[in-house]
């Protein structure tokens, strides 16, 4: 093998130029964007809006971390602090993490990976974005006009009876946005069933599609329960029905059952797509088939199925029956198995690979490490007696940030970097990108690892002021957050820069498998000039590399 073949990015860039006609220049007017039914353009609409929400949620997080530098409230008042962490949670969960990979990468990639021209319901897809935006604007109004102080979990009866903040408006916004999630999931399920290219049988599908499919099932089945729960909170506030109010015969714990019946599976809406992304990136940068394709694929479904059976592990100290606690604890451990399977499979894929460390790979490896730590601390949280101690402390905060930021966000950034050349036709500066991946990894660990210790020491979450002995660890965490913040600003800057000055990308800069790489970068509006026919399994990297060797010898 020659060196030139080994380094895809070293293929002389002068030989590549942007295609004359592609989806980005098929219309420049605002109208051509706002009324588009092209899944790729809708993906970019989502990308822009989701990035804006991420920045807002990040600003709230920064203020929270700044405030916690000192044990006494030195920056904001209690009311403001409570509104800040609520805004951070609501924005990041409902308007960033849940839609992130499905709505941006899923919208862009699902049709391309299936060799299809668009999603099954293109106009429904556009509607999903509008629904998302209407919900988002509604919630944003509530958060900026007066704020909400209930926490993103909206526990009753605080949210339904006691809070004097903008609970209704926020809940309405989330309720509306939920429909966007349902519609997107529905669209993906139908598309994956009906629009696969000839020859693309289920076991030739990319693992990203498997994970998006599993995610869509959760979205379609779980989201309506959240919607109903929010409607009940609304009715309770407006009419005082007493569903959650014990003075009227209601049950405040009922709210928690309903809420977590959606919100626990929602964690897998956030993490499964990232697992799909990592299952694409690792084989590509190892030049190797993923180890145990079927096991990775089926484990996505196992996770989706088990995710609906474990909500009660959020209620171990709530006063639910001891026996319910036992059952939910045992079921929670079952989710650990398919997750462990994936981690072992990714690691085994590295074995005897030909590994290169381009930015997407750094994010993917970072994901594996952080997800492993987040997942393993899940064992602590599911262990009943240990959970009793760490429940509602910073241990929980650390645990779910390892999954949702260390996992989901790392996967999202990996996906952006992997498919950026396909989406924009441009390459980003590799050096800056690798630096940012490392900064984010280091900053993340410095931010959240101290919180595990803080939690076991007993610092409760959502505390505005805290006893002075917790200060050292809090300062470490805040310092880490500033590194993390800088790490996030890098991609924001150089990705925008690359749009104008980045090197032009070839159709397949990573020499990756997958149908999306068999069309120009950026793709034409109709995706493929001719419908591709699939004759191989999804990850035949040995064949791709052999073919290139032959072409090189010719």
């Amino acid at each position: 093998m020659t060196a030139a073949l080994d380094r895809p990015t070293s293929v002389s860039p002068e030989s590549v130029s942007l295609p004359k006609r592609h989806y980005l220049n098929s219309g420049y007017t605002v109208r051509s964007w706002l009324f588009t039914t092209d899944h790729k353009r809708i993906a970019l609409l989502y990308l822009v809006s989701i990035t804006a929400f991420f920045v807002l949620g990040g600003i709230a997080a920064t203020l929270v971390r700044l405030d916690l530098m000192t044990p006494q409230a030195d920056l904001v008042r209690s009311e403001t602090y409570n509104k800040l962490f609520t805004a951070h949670g609501v924005i990041m969960i409902f308007f960033f993490l849940v839609p992130s990979i499905p709505a941006v990468m899923g919208n862009f990639l699902v049709p391309l990976m299936l060799g299809a021209r668009d999603l099954a319901f293109p106009r429904l897809n556009l509607l999903s974005w509008y629904v998302y935006m209407v919900g988002g604007v509604f919630t944003l109004y509530a958060l900026l006009a007066g704020g909400v102080d209930t926490g993103w979990t909206f526990y009753a009866p605080y949210s339904s009876t006691y809070s004097n903040t903008y609970v209704m408006a926020t809940a309405v916004g989330i309720f509306i946005t939920g429909f966007s999630s349902i519609l997107t999931g529905l669209n993906f399920i139908v598309t994956i069933h009906k629009m696969r290219a000839p020859g693309q049988v289920w076991f030739r599908l990319p693992l990203f599609i498997w994970s998006i499919y599993a995610t869509s099932i959760i979205m379609v089945l779980g989201t309506p329960v959240l919607a109903i729960t929010l409607v009940l909170v609304g009715l309770e506030r407006l009419l005082g029905l007493g569903i959650f109010d014990p003075r009227l015969g209601g049950d405040p714990i009922l709210f928690q059952h309903l809420f977590w019946f959606y919100s626990h599976p929602a964690v897998y809406i956030m993490i499964l797509p990232s697992m799909g992304v990592v299952s694409e990136i690792i084989p590509c940068f190892c030049r190797k088939r993923p180890f145990g394709y079927e096991f990775i694929g089926f484990s996505s479904f196992a996770i989706a199925a088990f995710s609906f059976l474990v909500w009660g592990h959020h209620l171990f100290v709530s006063g639910q029956s001891i026996y319910a606690g036992l059952v939910f604890s045992m079921l929670s451990y079952l989710v650990a198995i398919p997750s462990a399977v994936k981690v072992f499979n990714w690691t085994a894929t590295l074995h005897k690979g030909s590994i290169s460390f381009d930015t997407p790979m750094l994010y993917a490896l970072g994901f594996v490490g952080l997800f492993t730590m987040g997942g393993l601390t899940g064992l602590f949280v599911a262990a009943l007696a240990v959970d009793v101690h760490v429940h509602d402390t910073y241990f929980i905060v650390a645990h779910f940030h390892y999954i949702m930021v260390g996992g989901a966000v790392m996967g999202y950034l990996g996906a952006i970097h992997f498919w950026w050349p396909k989406m924009t036709g441009r390459l980003y500066p590799e050096g800056w990108a690798r630096l940012s991946a490392i900064l984010i990894f280091v900053g993340f660990n410095l931010t959240f690892f101290p919180q595990y210790i803080l939690g076991y020491l007993g610092m409760p979450r959502r505390y505005h002021i805290y006893p002075p002995e917790f200060q050292v660890l809090n300062v470490m965490s805040s310092a880490g957050a500033s590194i993390l913040g800088v790490g996030y600003l890098f991609p924001l800057t150089y990705l925008i820069w690359s749009l104008f000055y980045g090197k032009v990308a070839s159709a397949n800069p990573w020499r990756a498998a997958g149908l999306e790489w068999q069309t120009p970068s950026p793709p034409p509006t109709e995706n493929f000039a001719r419908t591709p026919v699939v004759r191989h399994e999804a990850y035949d990297y040995p064949a791709i590399d052999n073919q290139q060797v032959e072409e090189g010898l010719r």
């Binding site: 209690s78 014990p246 190797k288 006063g319 198995i337 393993l376 007696a385 009793v388 002995e469």
Partner: protein, 313 residues
């Protein structure tokens, strides 16, 4: 003790703490082992099989292995089931108070803790307990959900409006320990903190004797029983026929008009005082008026304490 400076583990101050910590250390070892295993493998493979390294044998790079994959499903399953069983047995004993425990009543409200000792002493945000005696807390909230959390005891229990919850502990060290509210409860959630003060039993007795003596819950309950005119129907000397007798009621199973059975526990008694028509005893008419809005959580506790005392004539 409070204000001990920087540390990596919380103090152990209850009989439960060492056993929870033992499980914690076990979990810590298991997760450290797997984290290091994965990290070492990733780094080792990354260096050995880096693309620049042409000196390495990449032939027979497998893409599946059934025995390996079954192995790494079965091993985590066995480990996690062992952790489950361990955690479950601790949890079971944690929420099953011993019969001889000292029963202290606690009420949470935005944003304070109110406690009352069996002999009547009341305190706010402080909780004095004797060393080496099991203490059972019966907790209820006046408004939103709070959570009783003492890190040094490794115990926590949500304090819920409308139902009684329990937890228990036996302190093993004298001193002052943090009492936190762990469930977010509104504006001053982080100021809803108190102290648990563990004293030598003799000192605790002295404290009880010297602190502001109040009417005991039992006496208060008896007084309220008469003031609220419960005594008109529920007469101690025997049933009038119009209402179910309360003597020996507590802890029994009660048959209802709809044919179902409920245990006559504190939550049932509380509901029957507030909403008498909700669960009517078989053979009786729902004649009793509701005391909703006329009786406070503390008064309810006194009444129930008195009714419980009727259980043992």
């Amino acid at each position: 003790m409070i204000d001990d400076g920087f540390r990596l583990m919380p103090e152990q101050a209850s009989t439960l703490a060492p056993s929870v910590d033992l499980l914690y250390y076990f979990l810590l070892s298991v997760s450290t082992f797997f984290t290091v295993l994965i990290a070492v493998l990733i780094v080792y493979f990354s260096i050995k099989y880096r693309r620049g390294n042409q000196q390495v044998d990449r032939s027979k790079g497998e893409d599946h292995s059934l025995w390996l994959e079954v192995l790494w499903m079965v091993v985590p399953l066995l480990i996690s089931m062992a952790i489950f069983a361990w955690g479950a047995s601790l949890y079971y004993s944690e929420y099953r108070p011993p019969d001889d425990a000292i029963e202290i009543r606690g009420v949470g409200k935005q944003w304070m803790w109110k406690f009352q000792h069996p002999s009547g002493q009341r305190e706010i945000n402080d909780l004095h307990v004797p060393l080496g005696y099991p203490v059972k807390l019966t907790l209820i909230s006046e408004d939103v959900i709070h959570s009783f959390f003492v890190p040094a005891f490794r115990t926590k229990r949500d304090v819920v409006p409308g139902r009684y919850t329990n937890c228990w502990f036996e302190a093993t060290r004298t001193g002052t320990f943090h009492l936190f509210c762990a469930e977010y409860c509104g504006t001053n959630h982080s100021r809803m903190i108190g102290r648990v003060i563990v004293m030598e039993p003799a000192e605790y007795e002295r404290w009880l004797a010297n602190s502001n003596m109040q009417e005991s819950p039992l006496a208060a309950g008896k007084r309220l029983y008469e003031e609220f005119r419960c005594v008109t129907c529920h007469r101690p000397e025997g049933a009038t026929g119009r209402c179910p007798p309360l003597e020996g009621l507590f802890g029994r199973d009660v048959k209802l008009v709809d044919g179902t059975t409920v245990p006559a526990d504190e939550t049932y008694l509380r509901e029957s005082i507030l909403r008498p028509a909700a669960k009517v005893v078989a053979g009786f008419e729902p004649l009793m008026p509701s005391y909703e809005g006329q009786i406070s959580e503390e008064q309810l506790i006194y009444l129930i304490t008195y009714i419980k005392s009727l259980a043992k004539p």
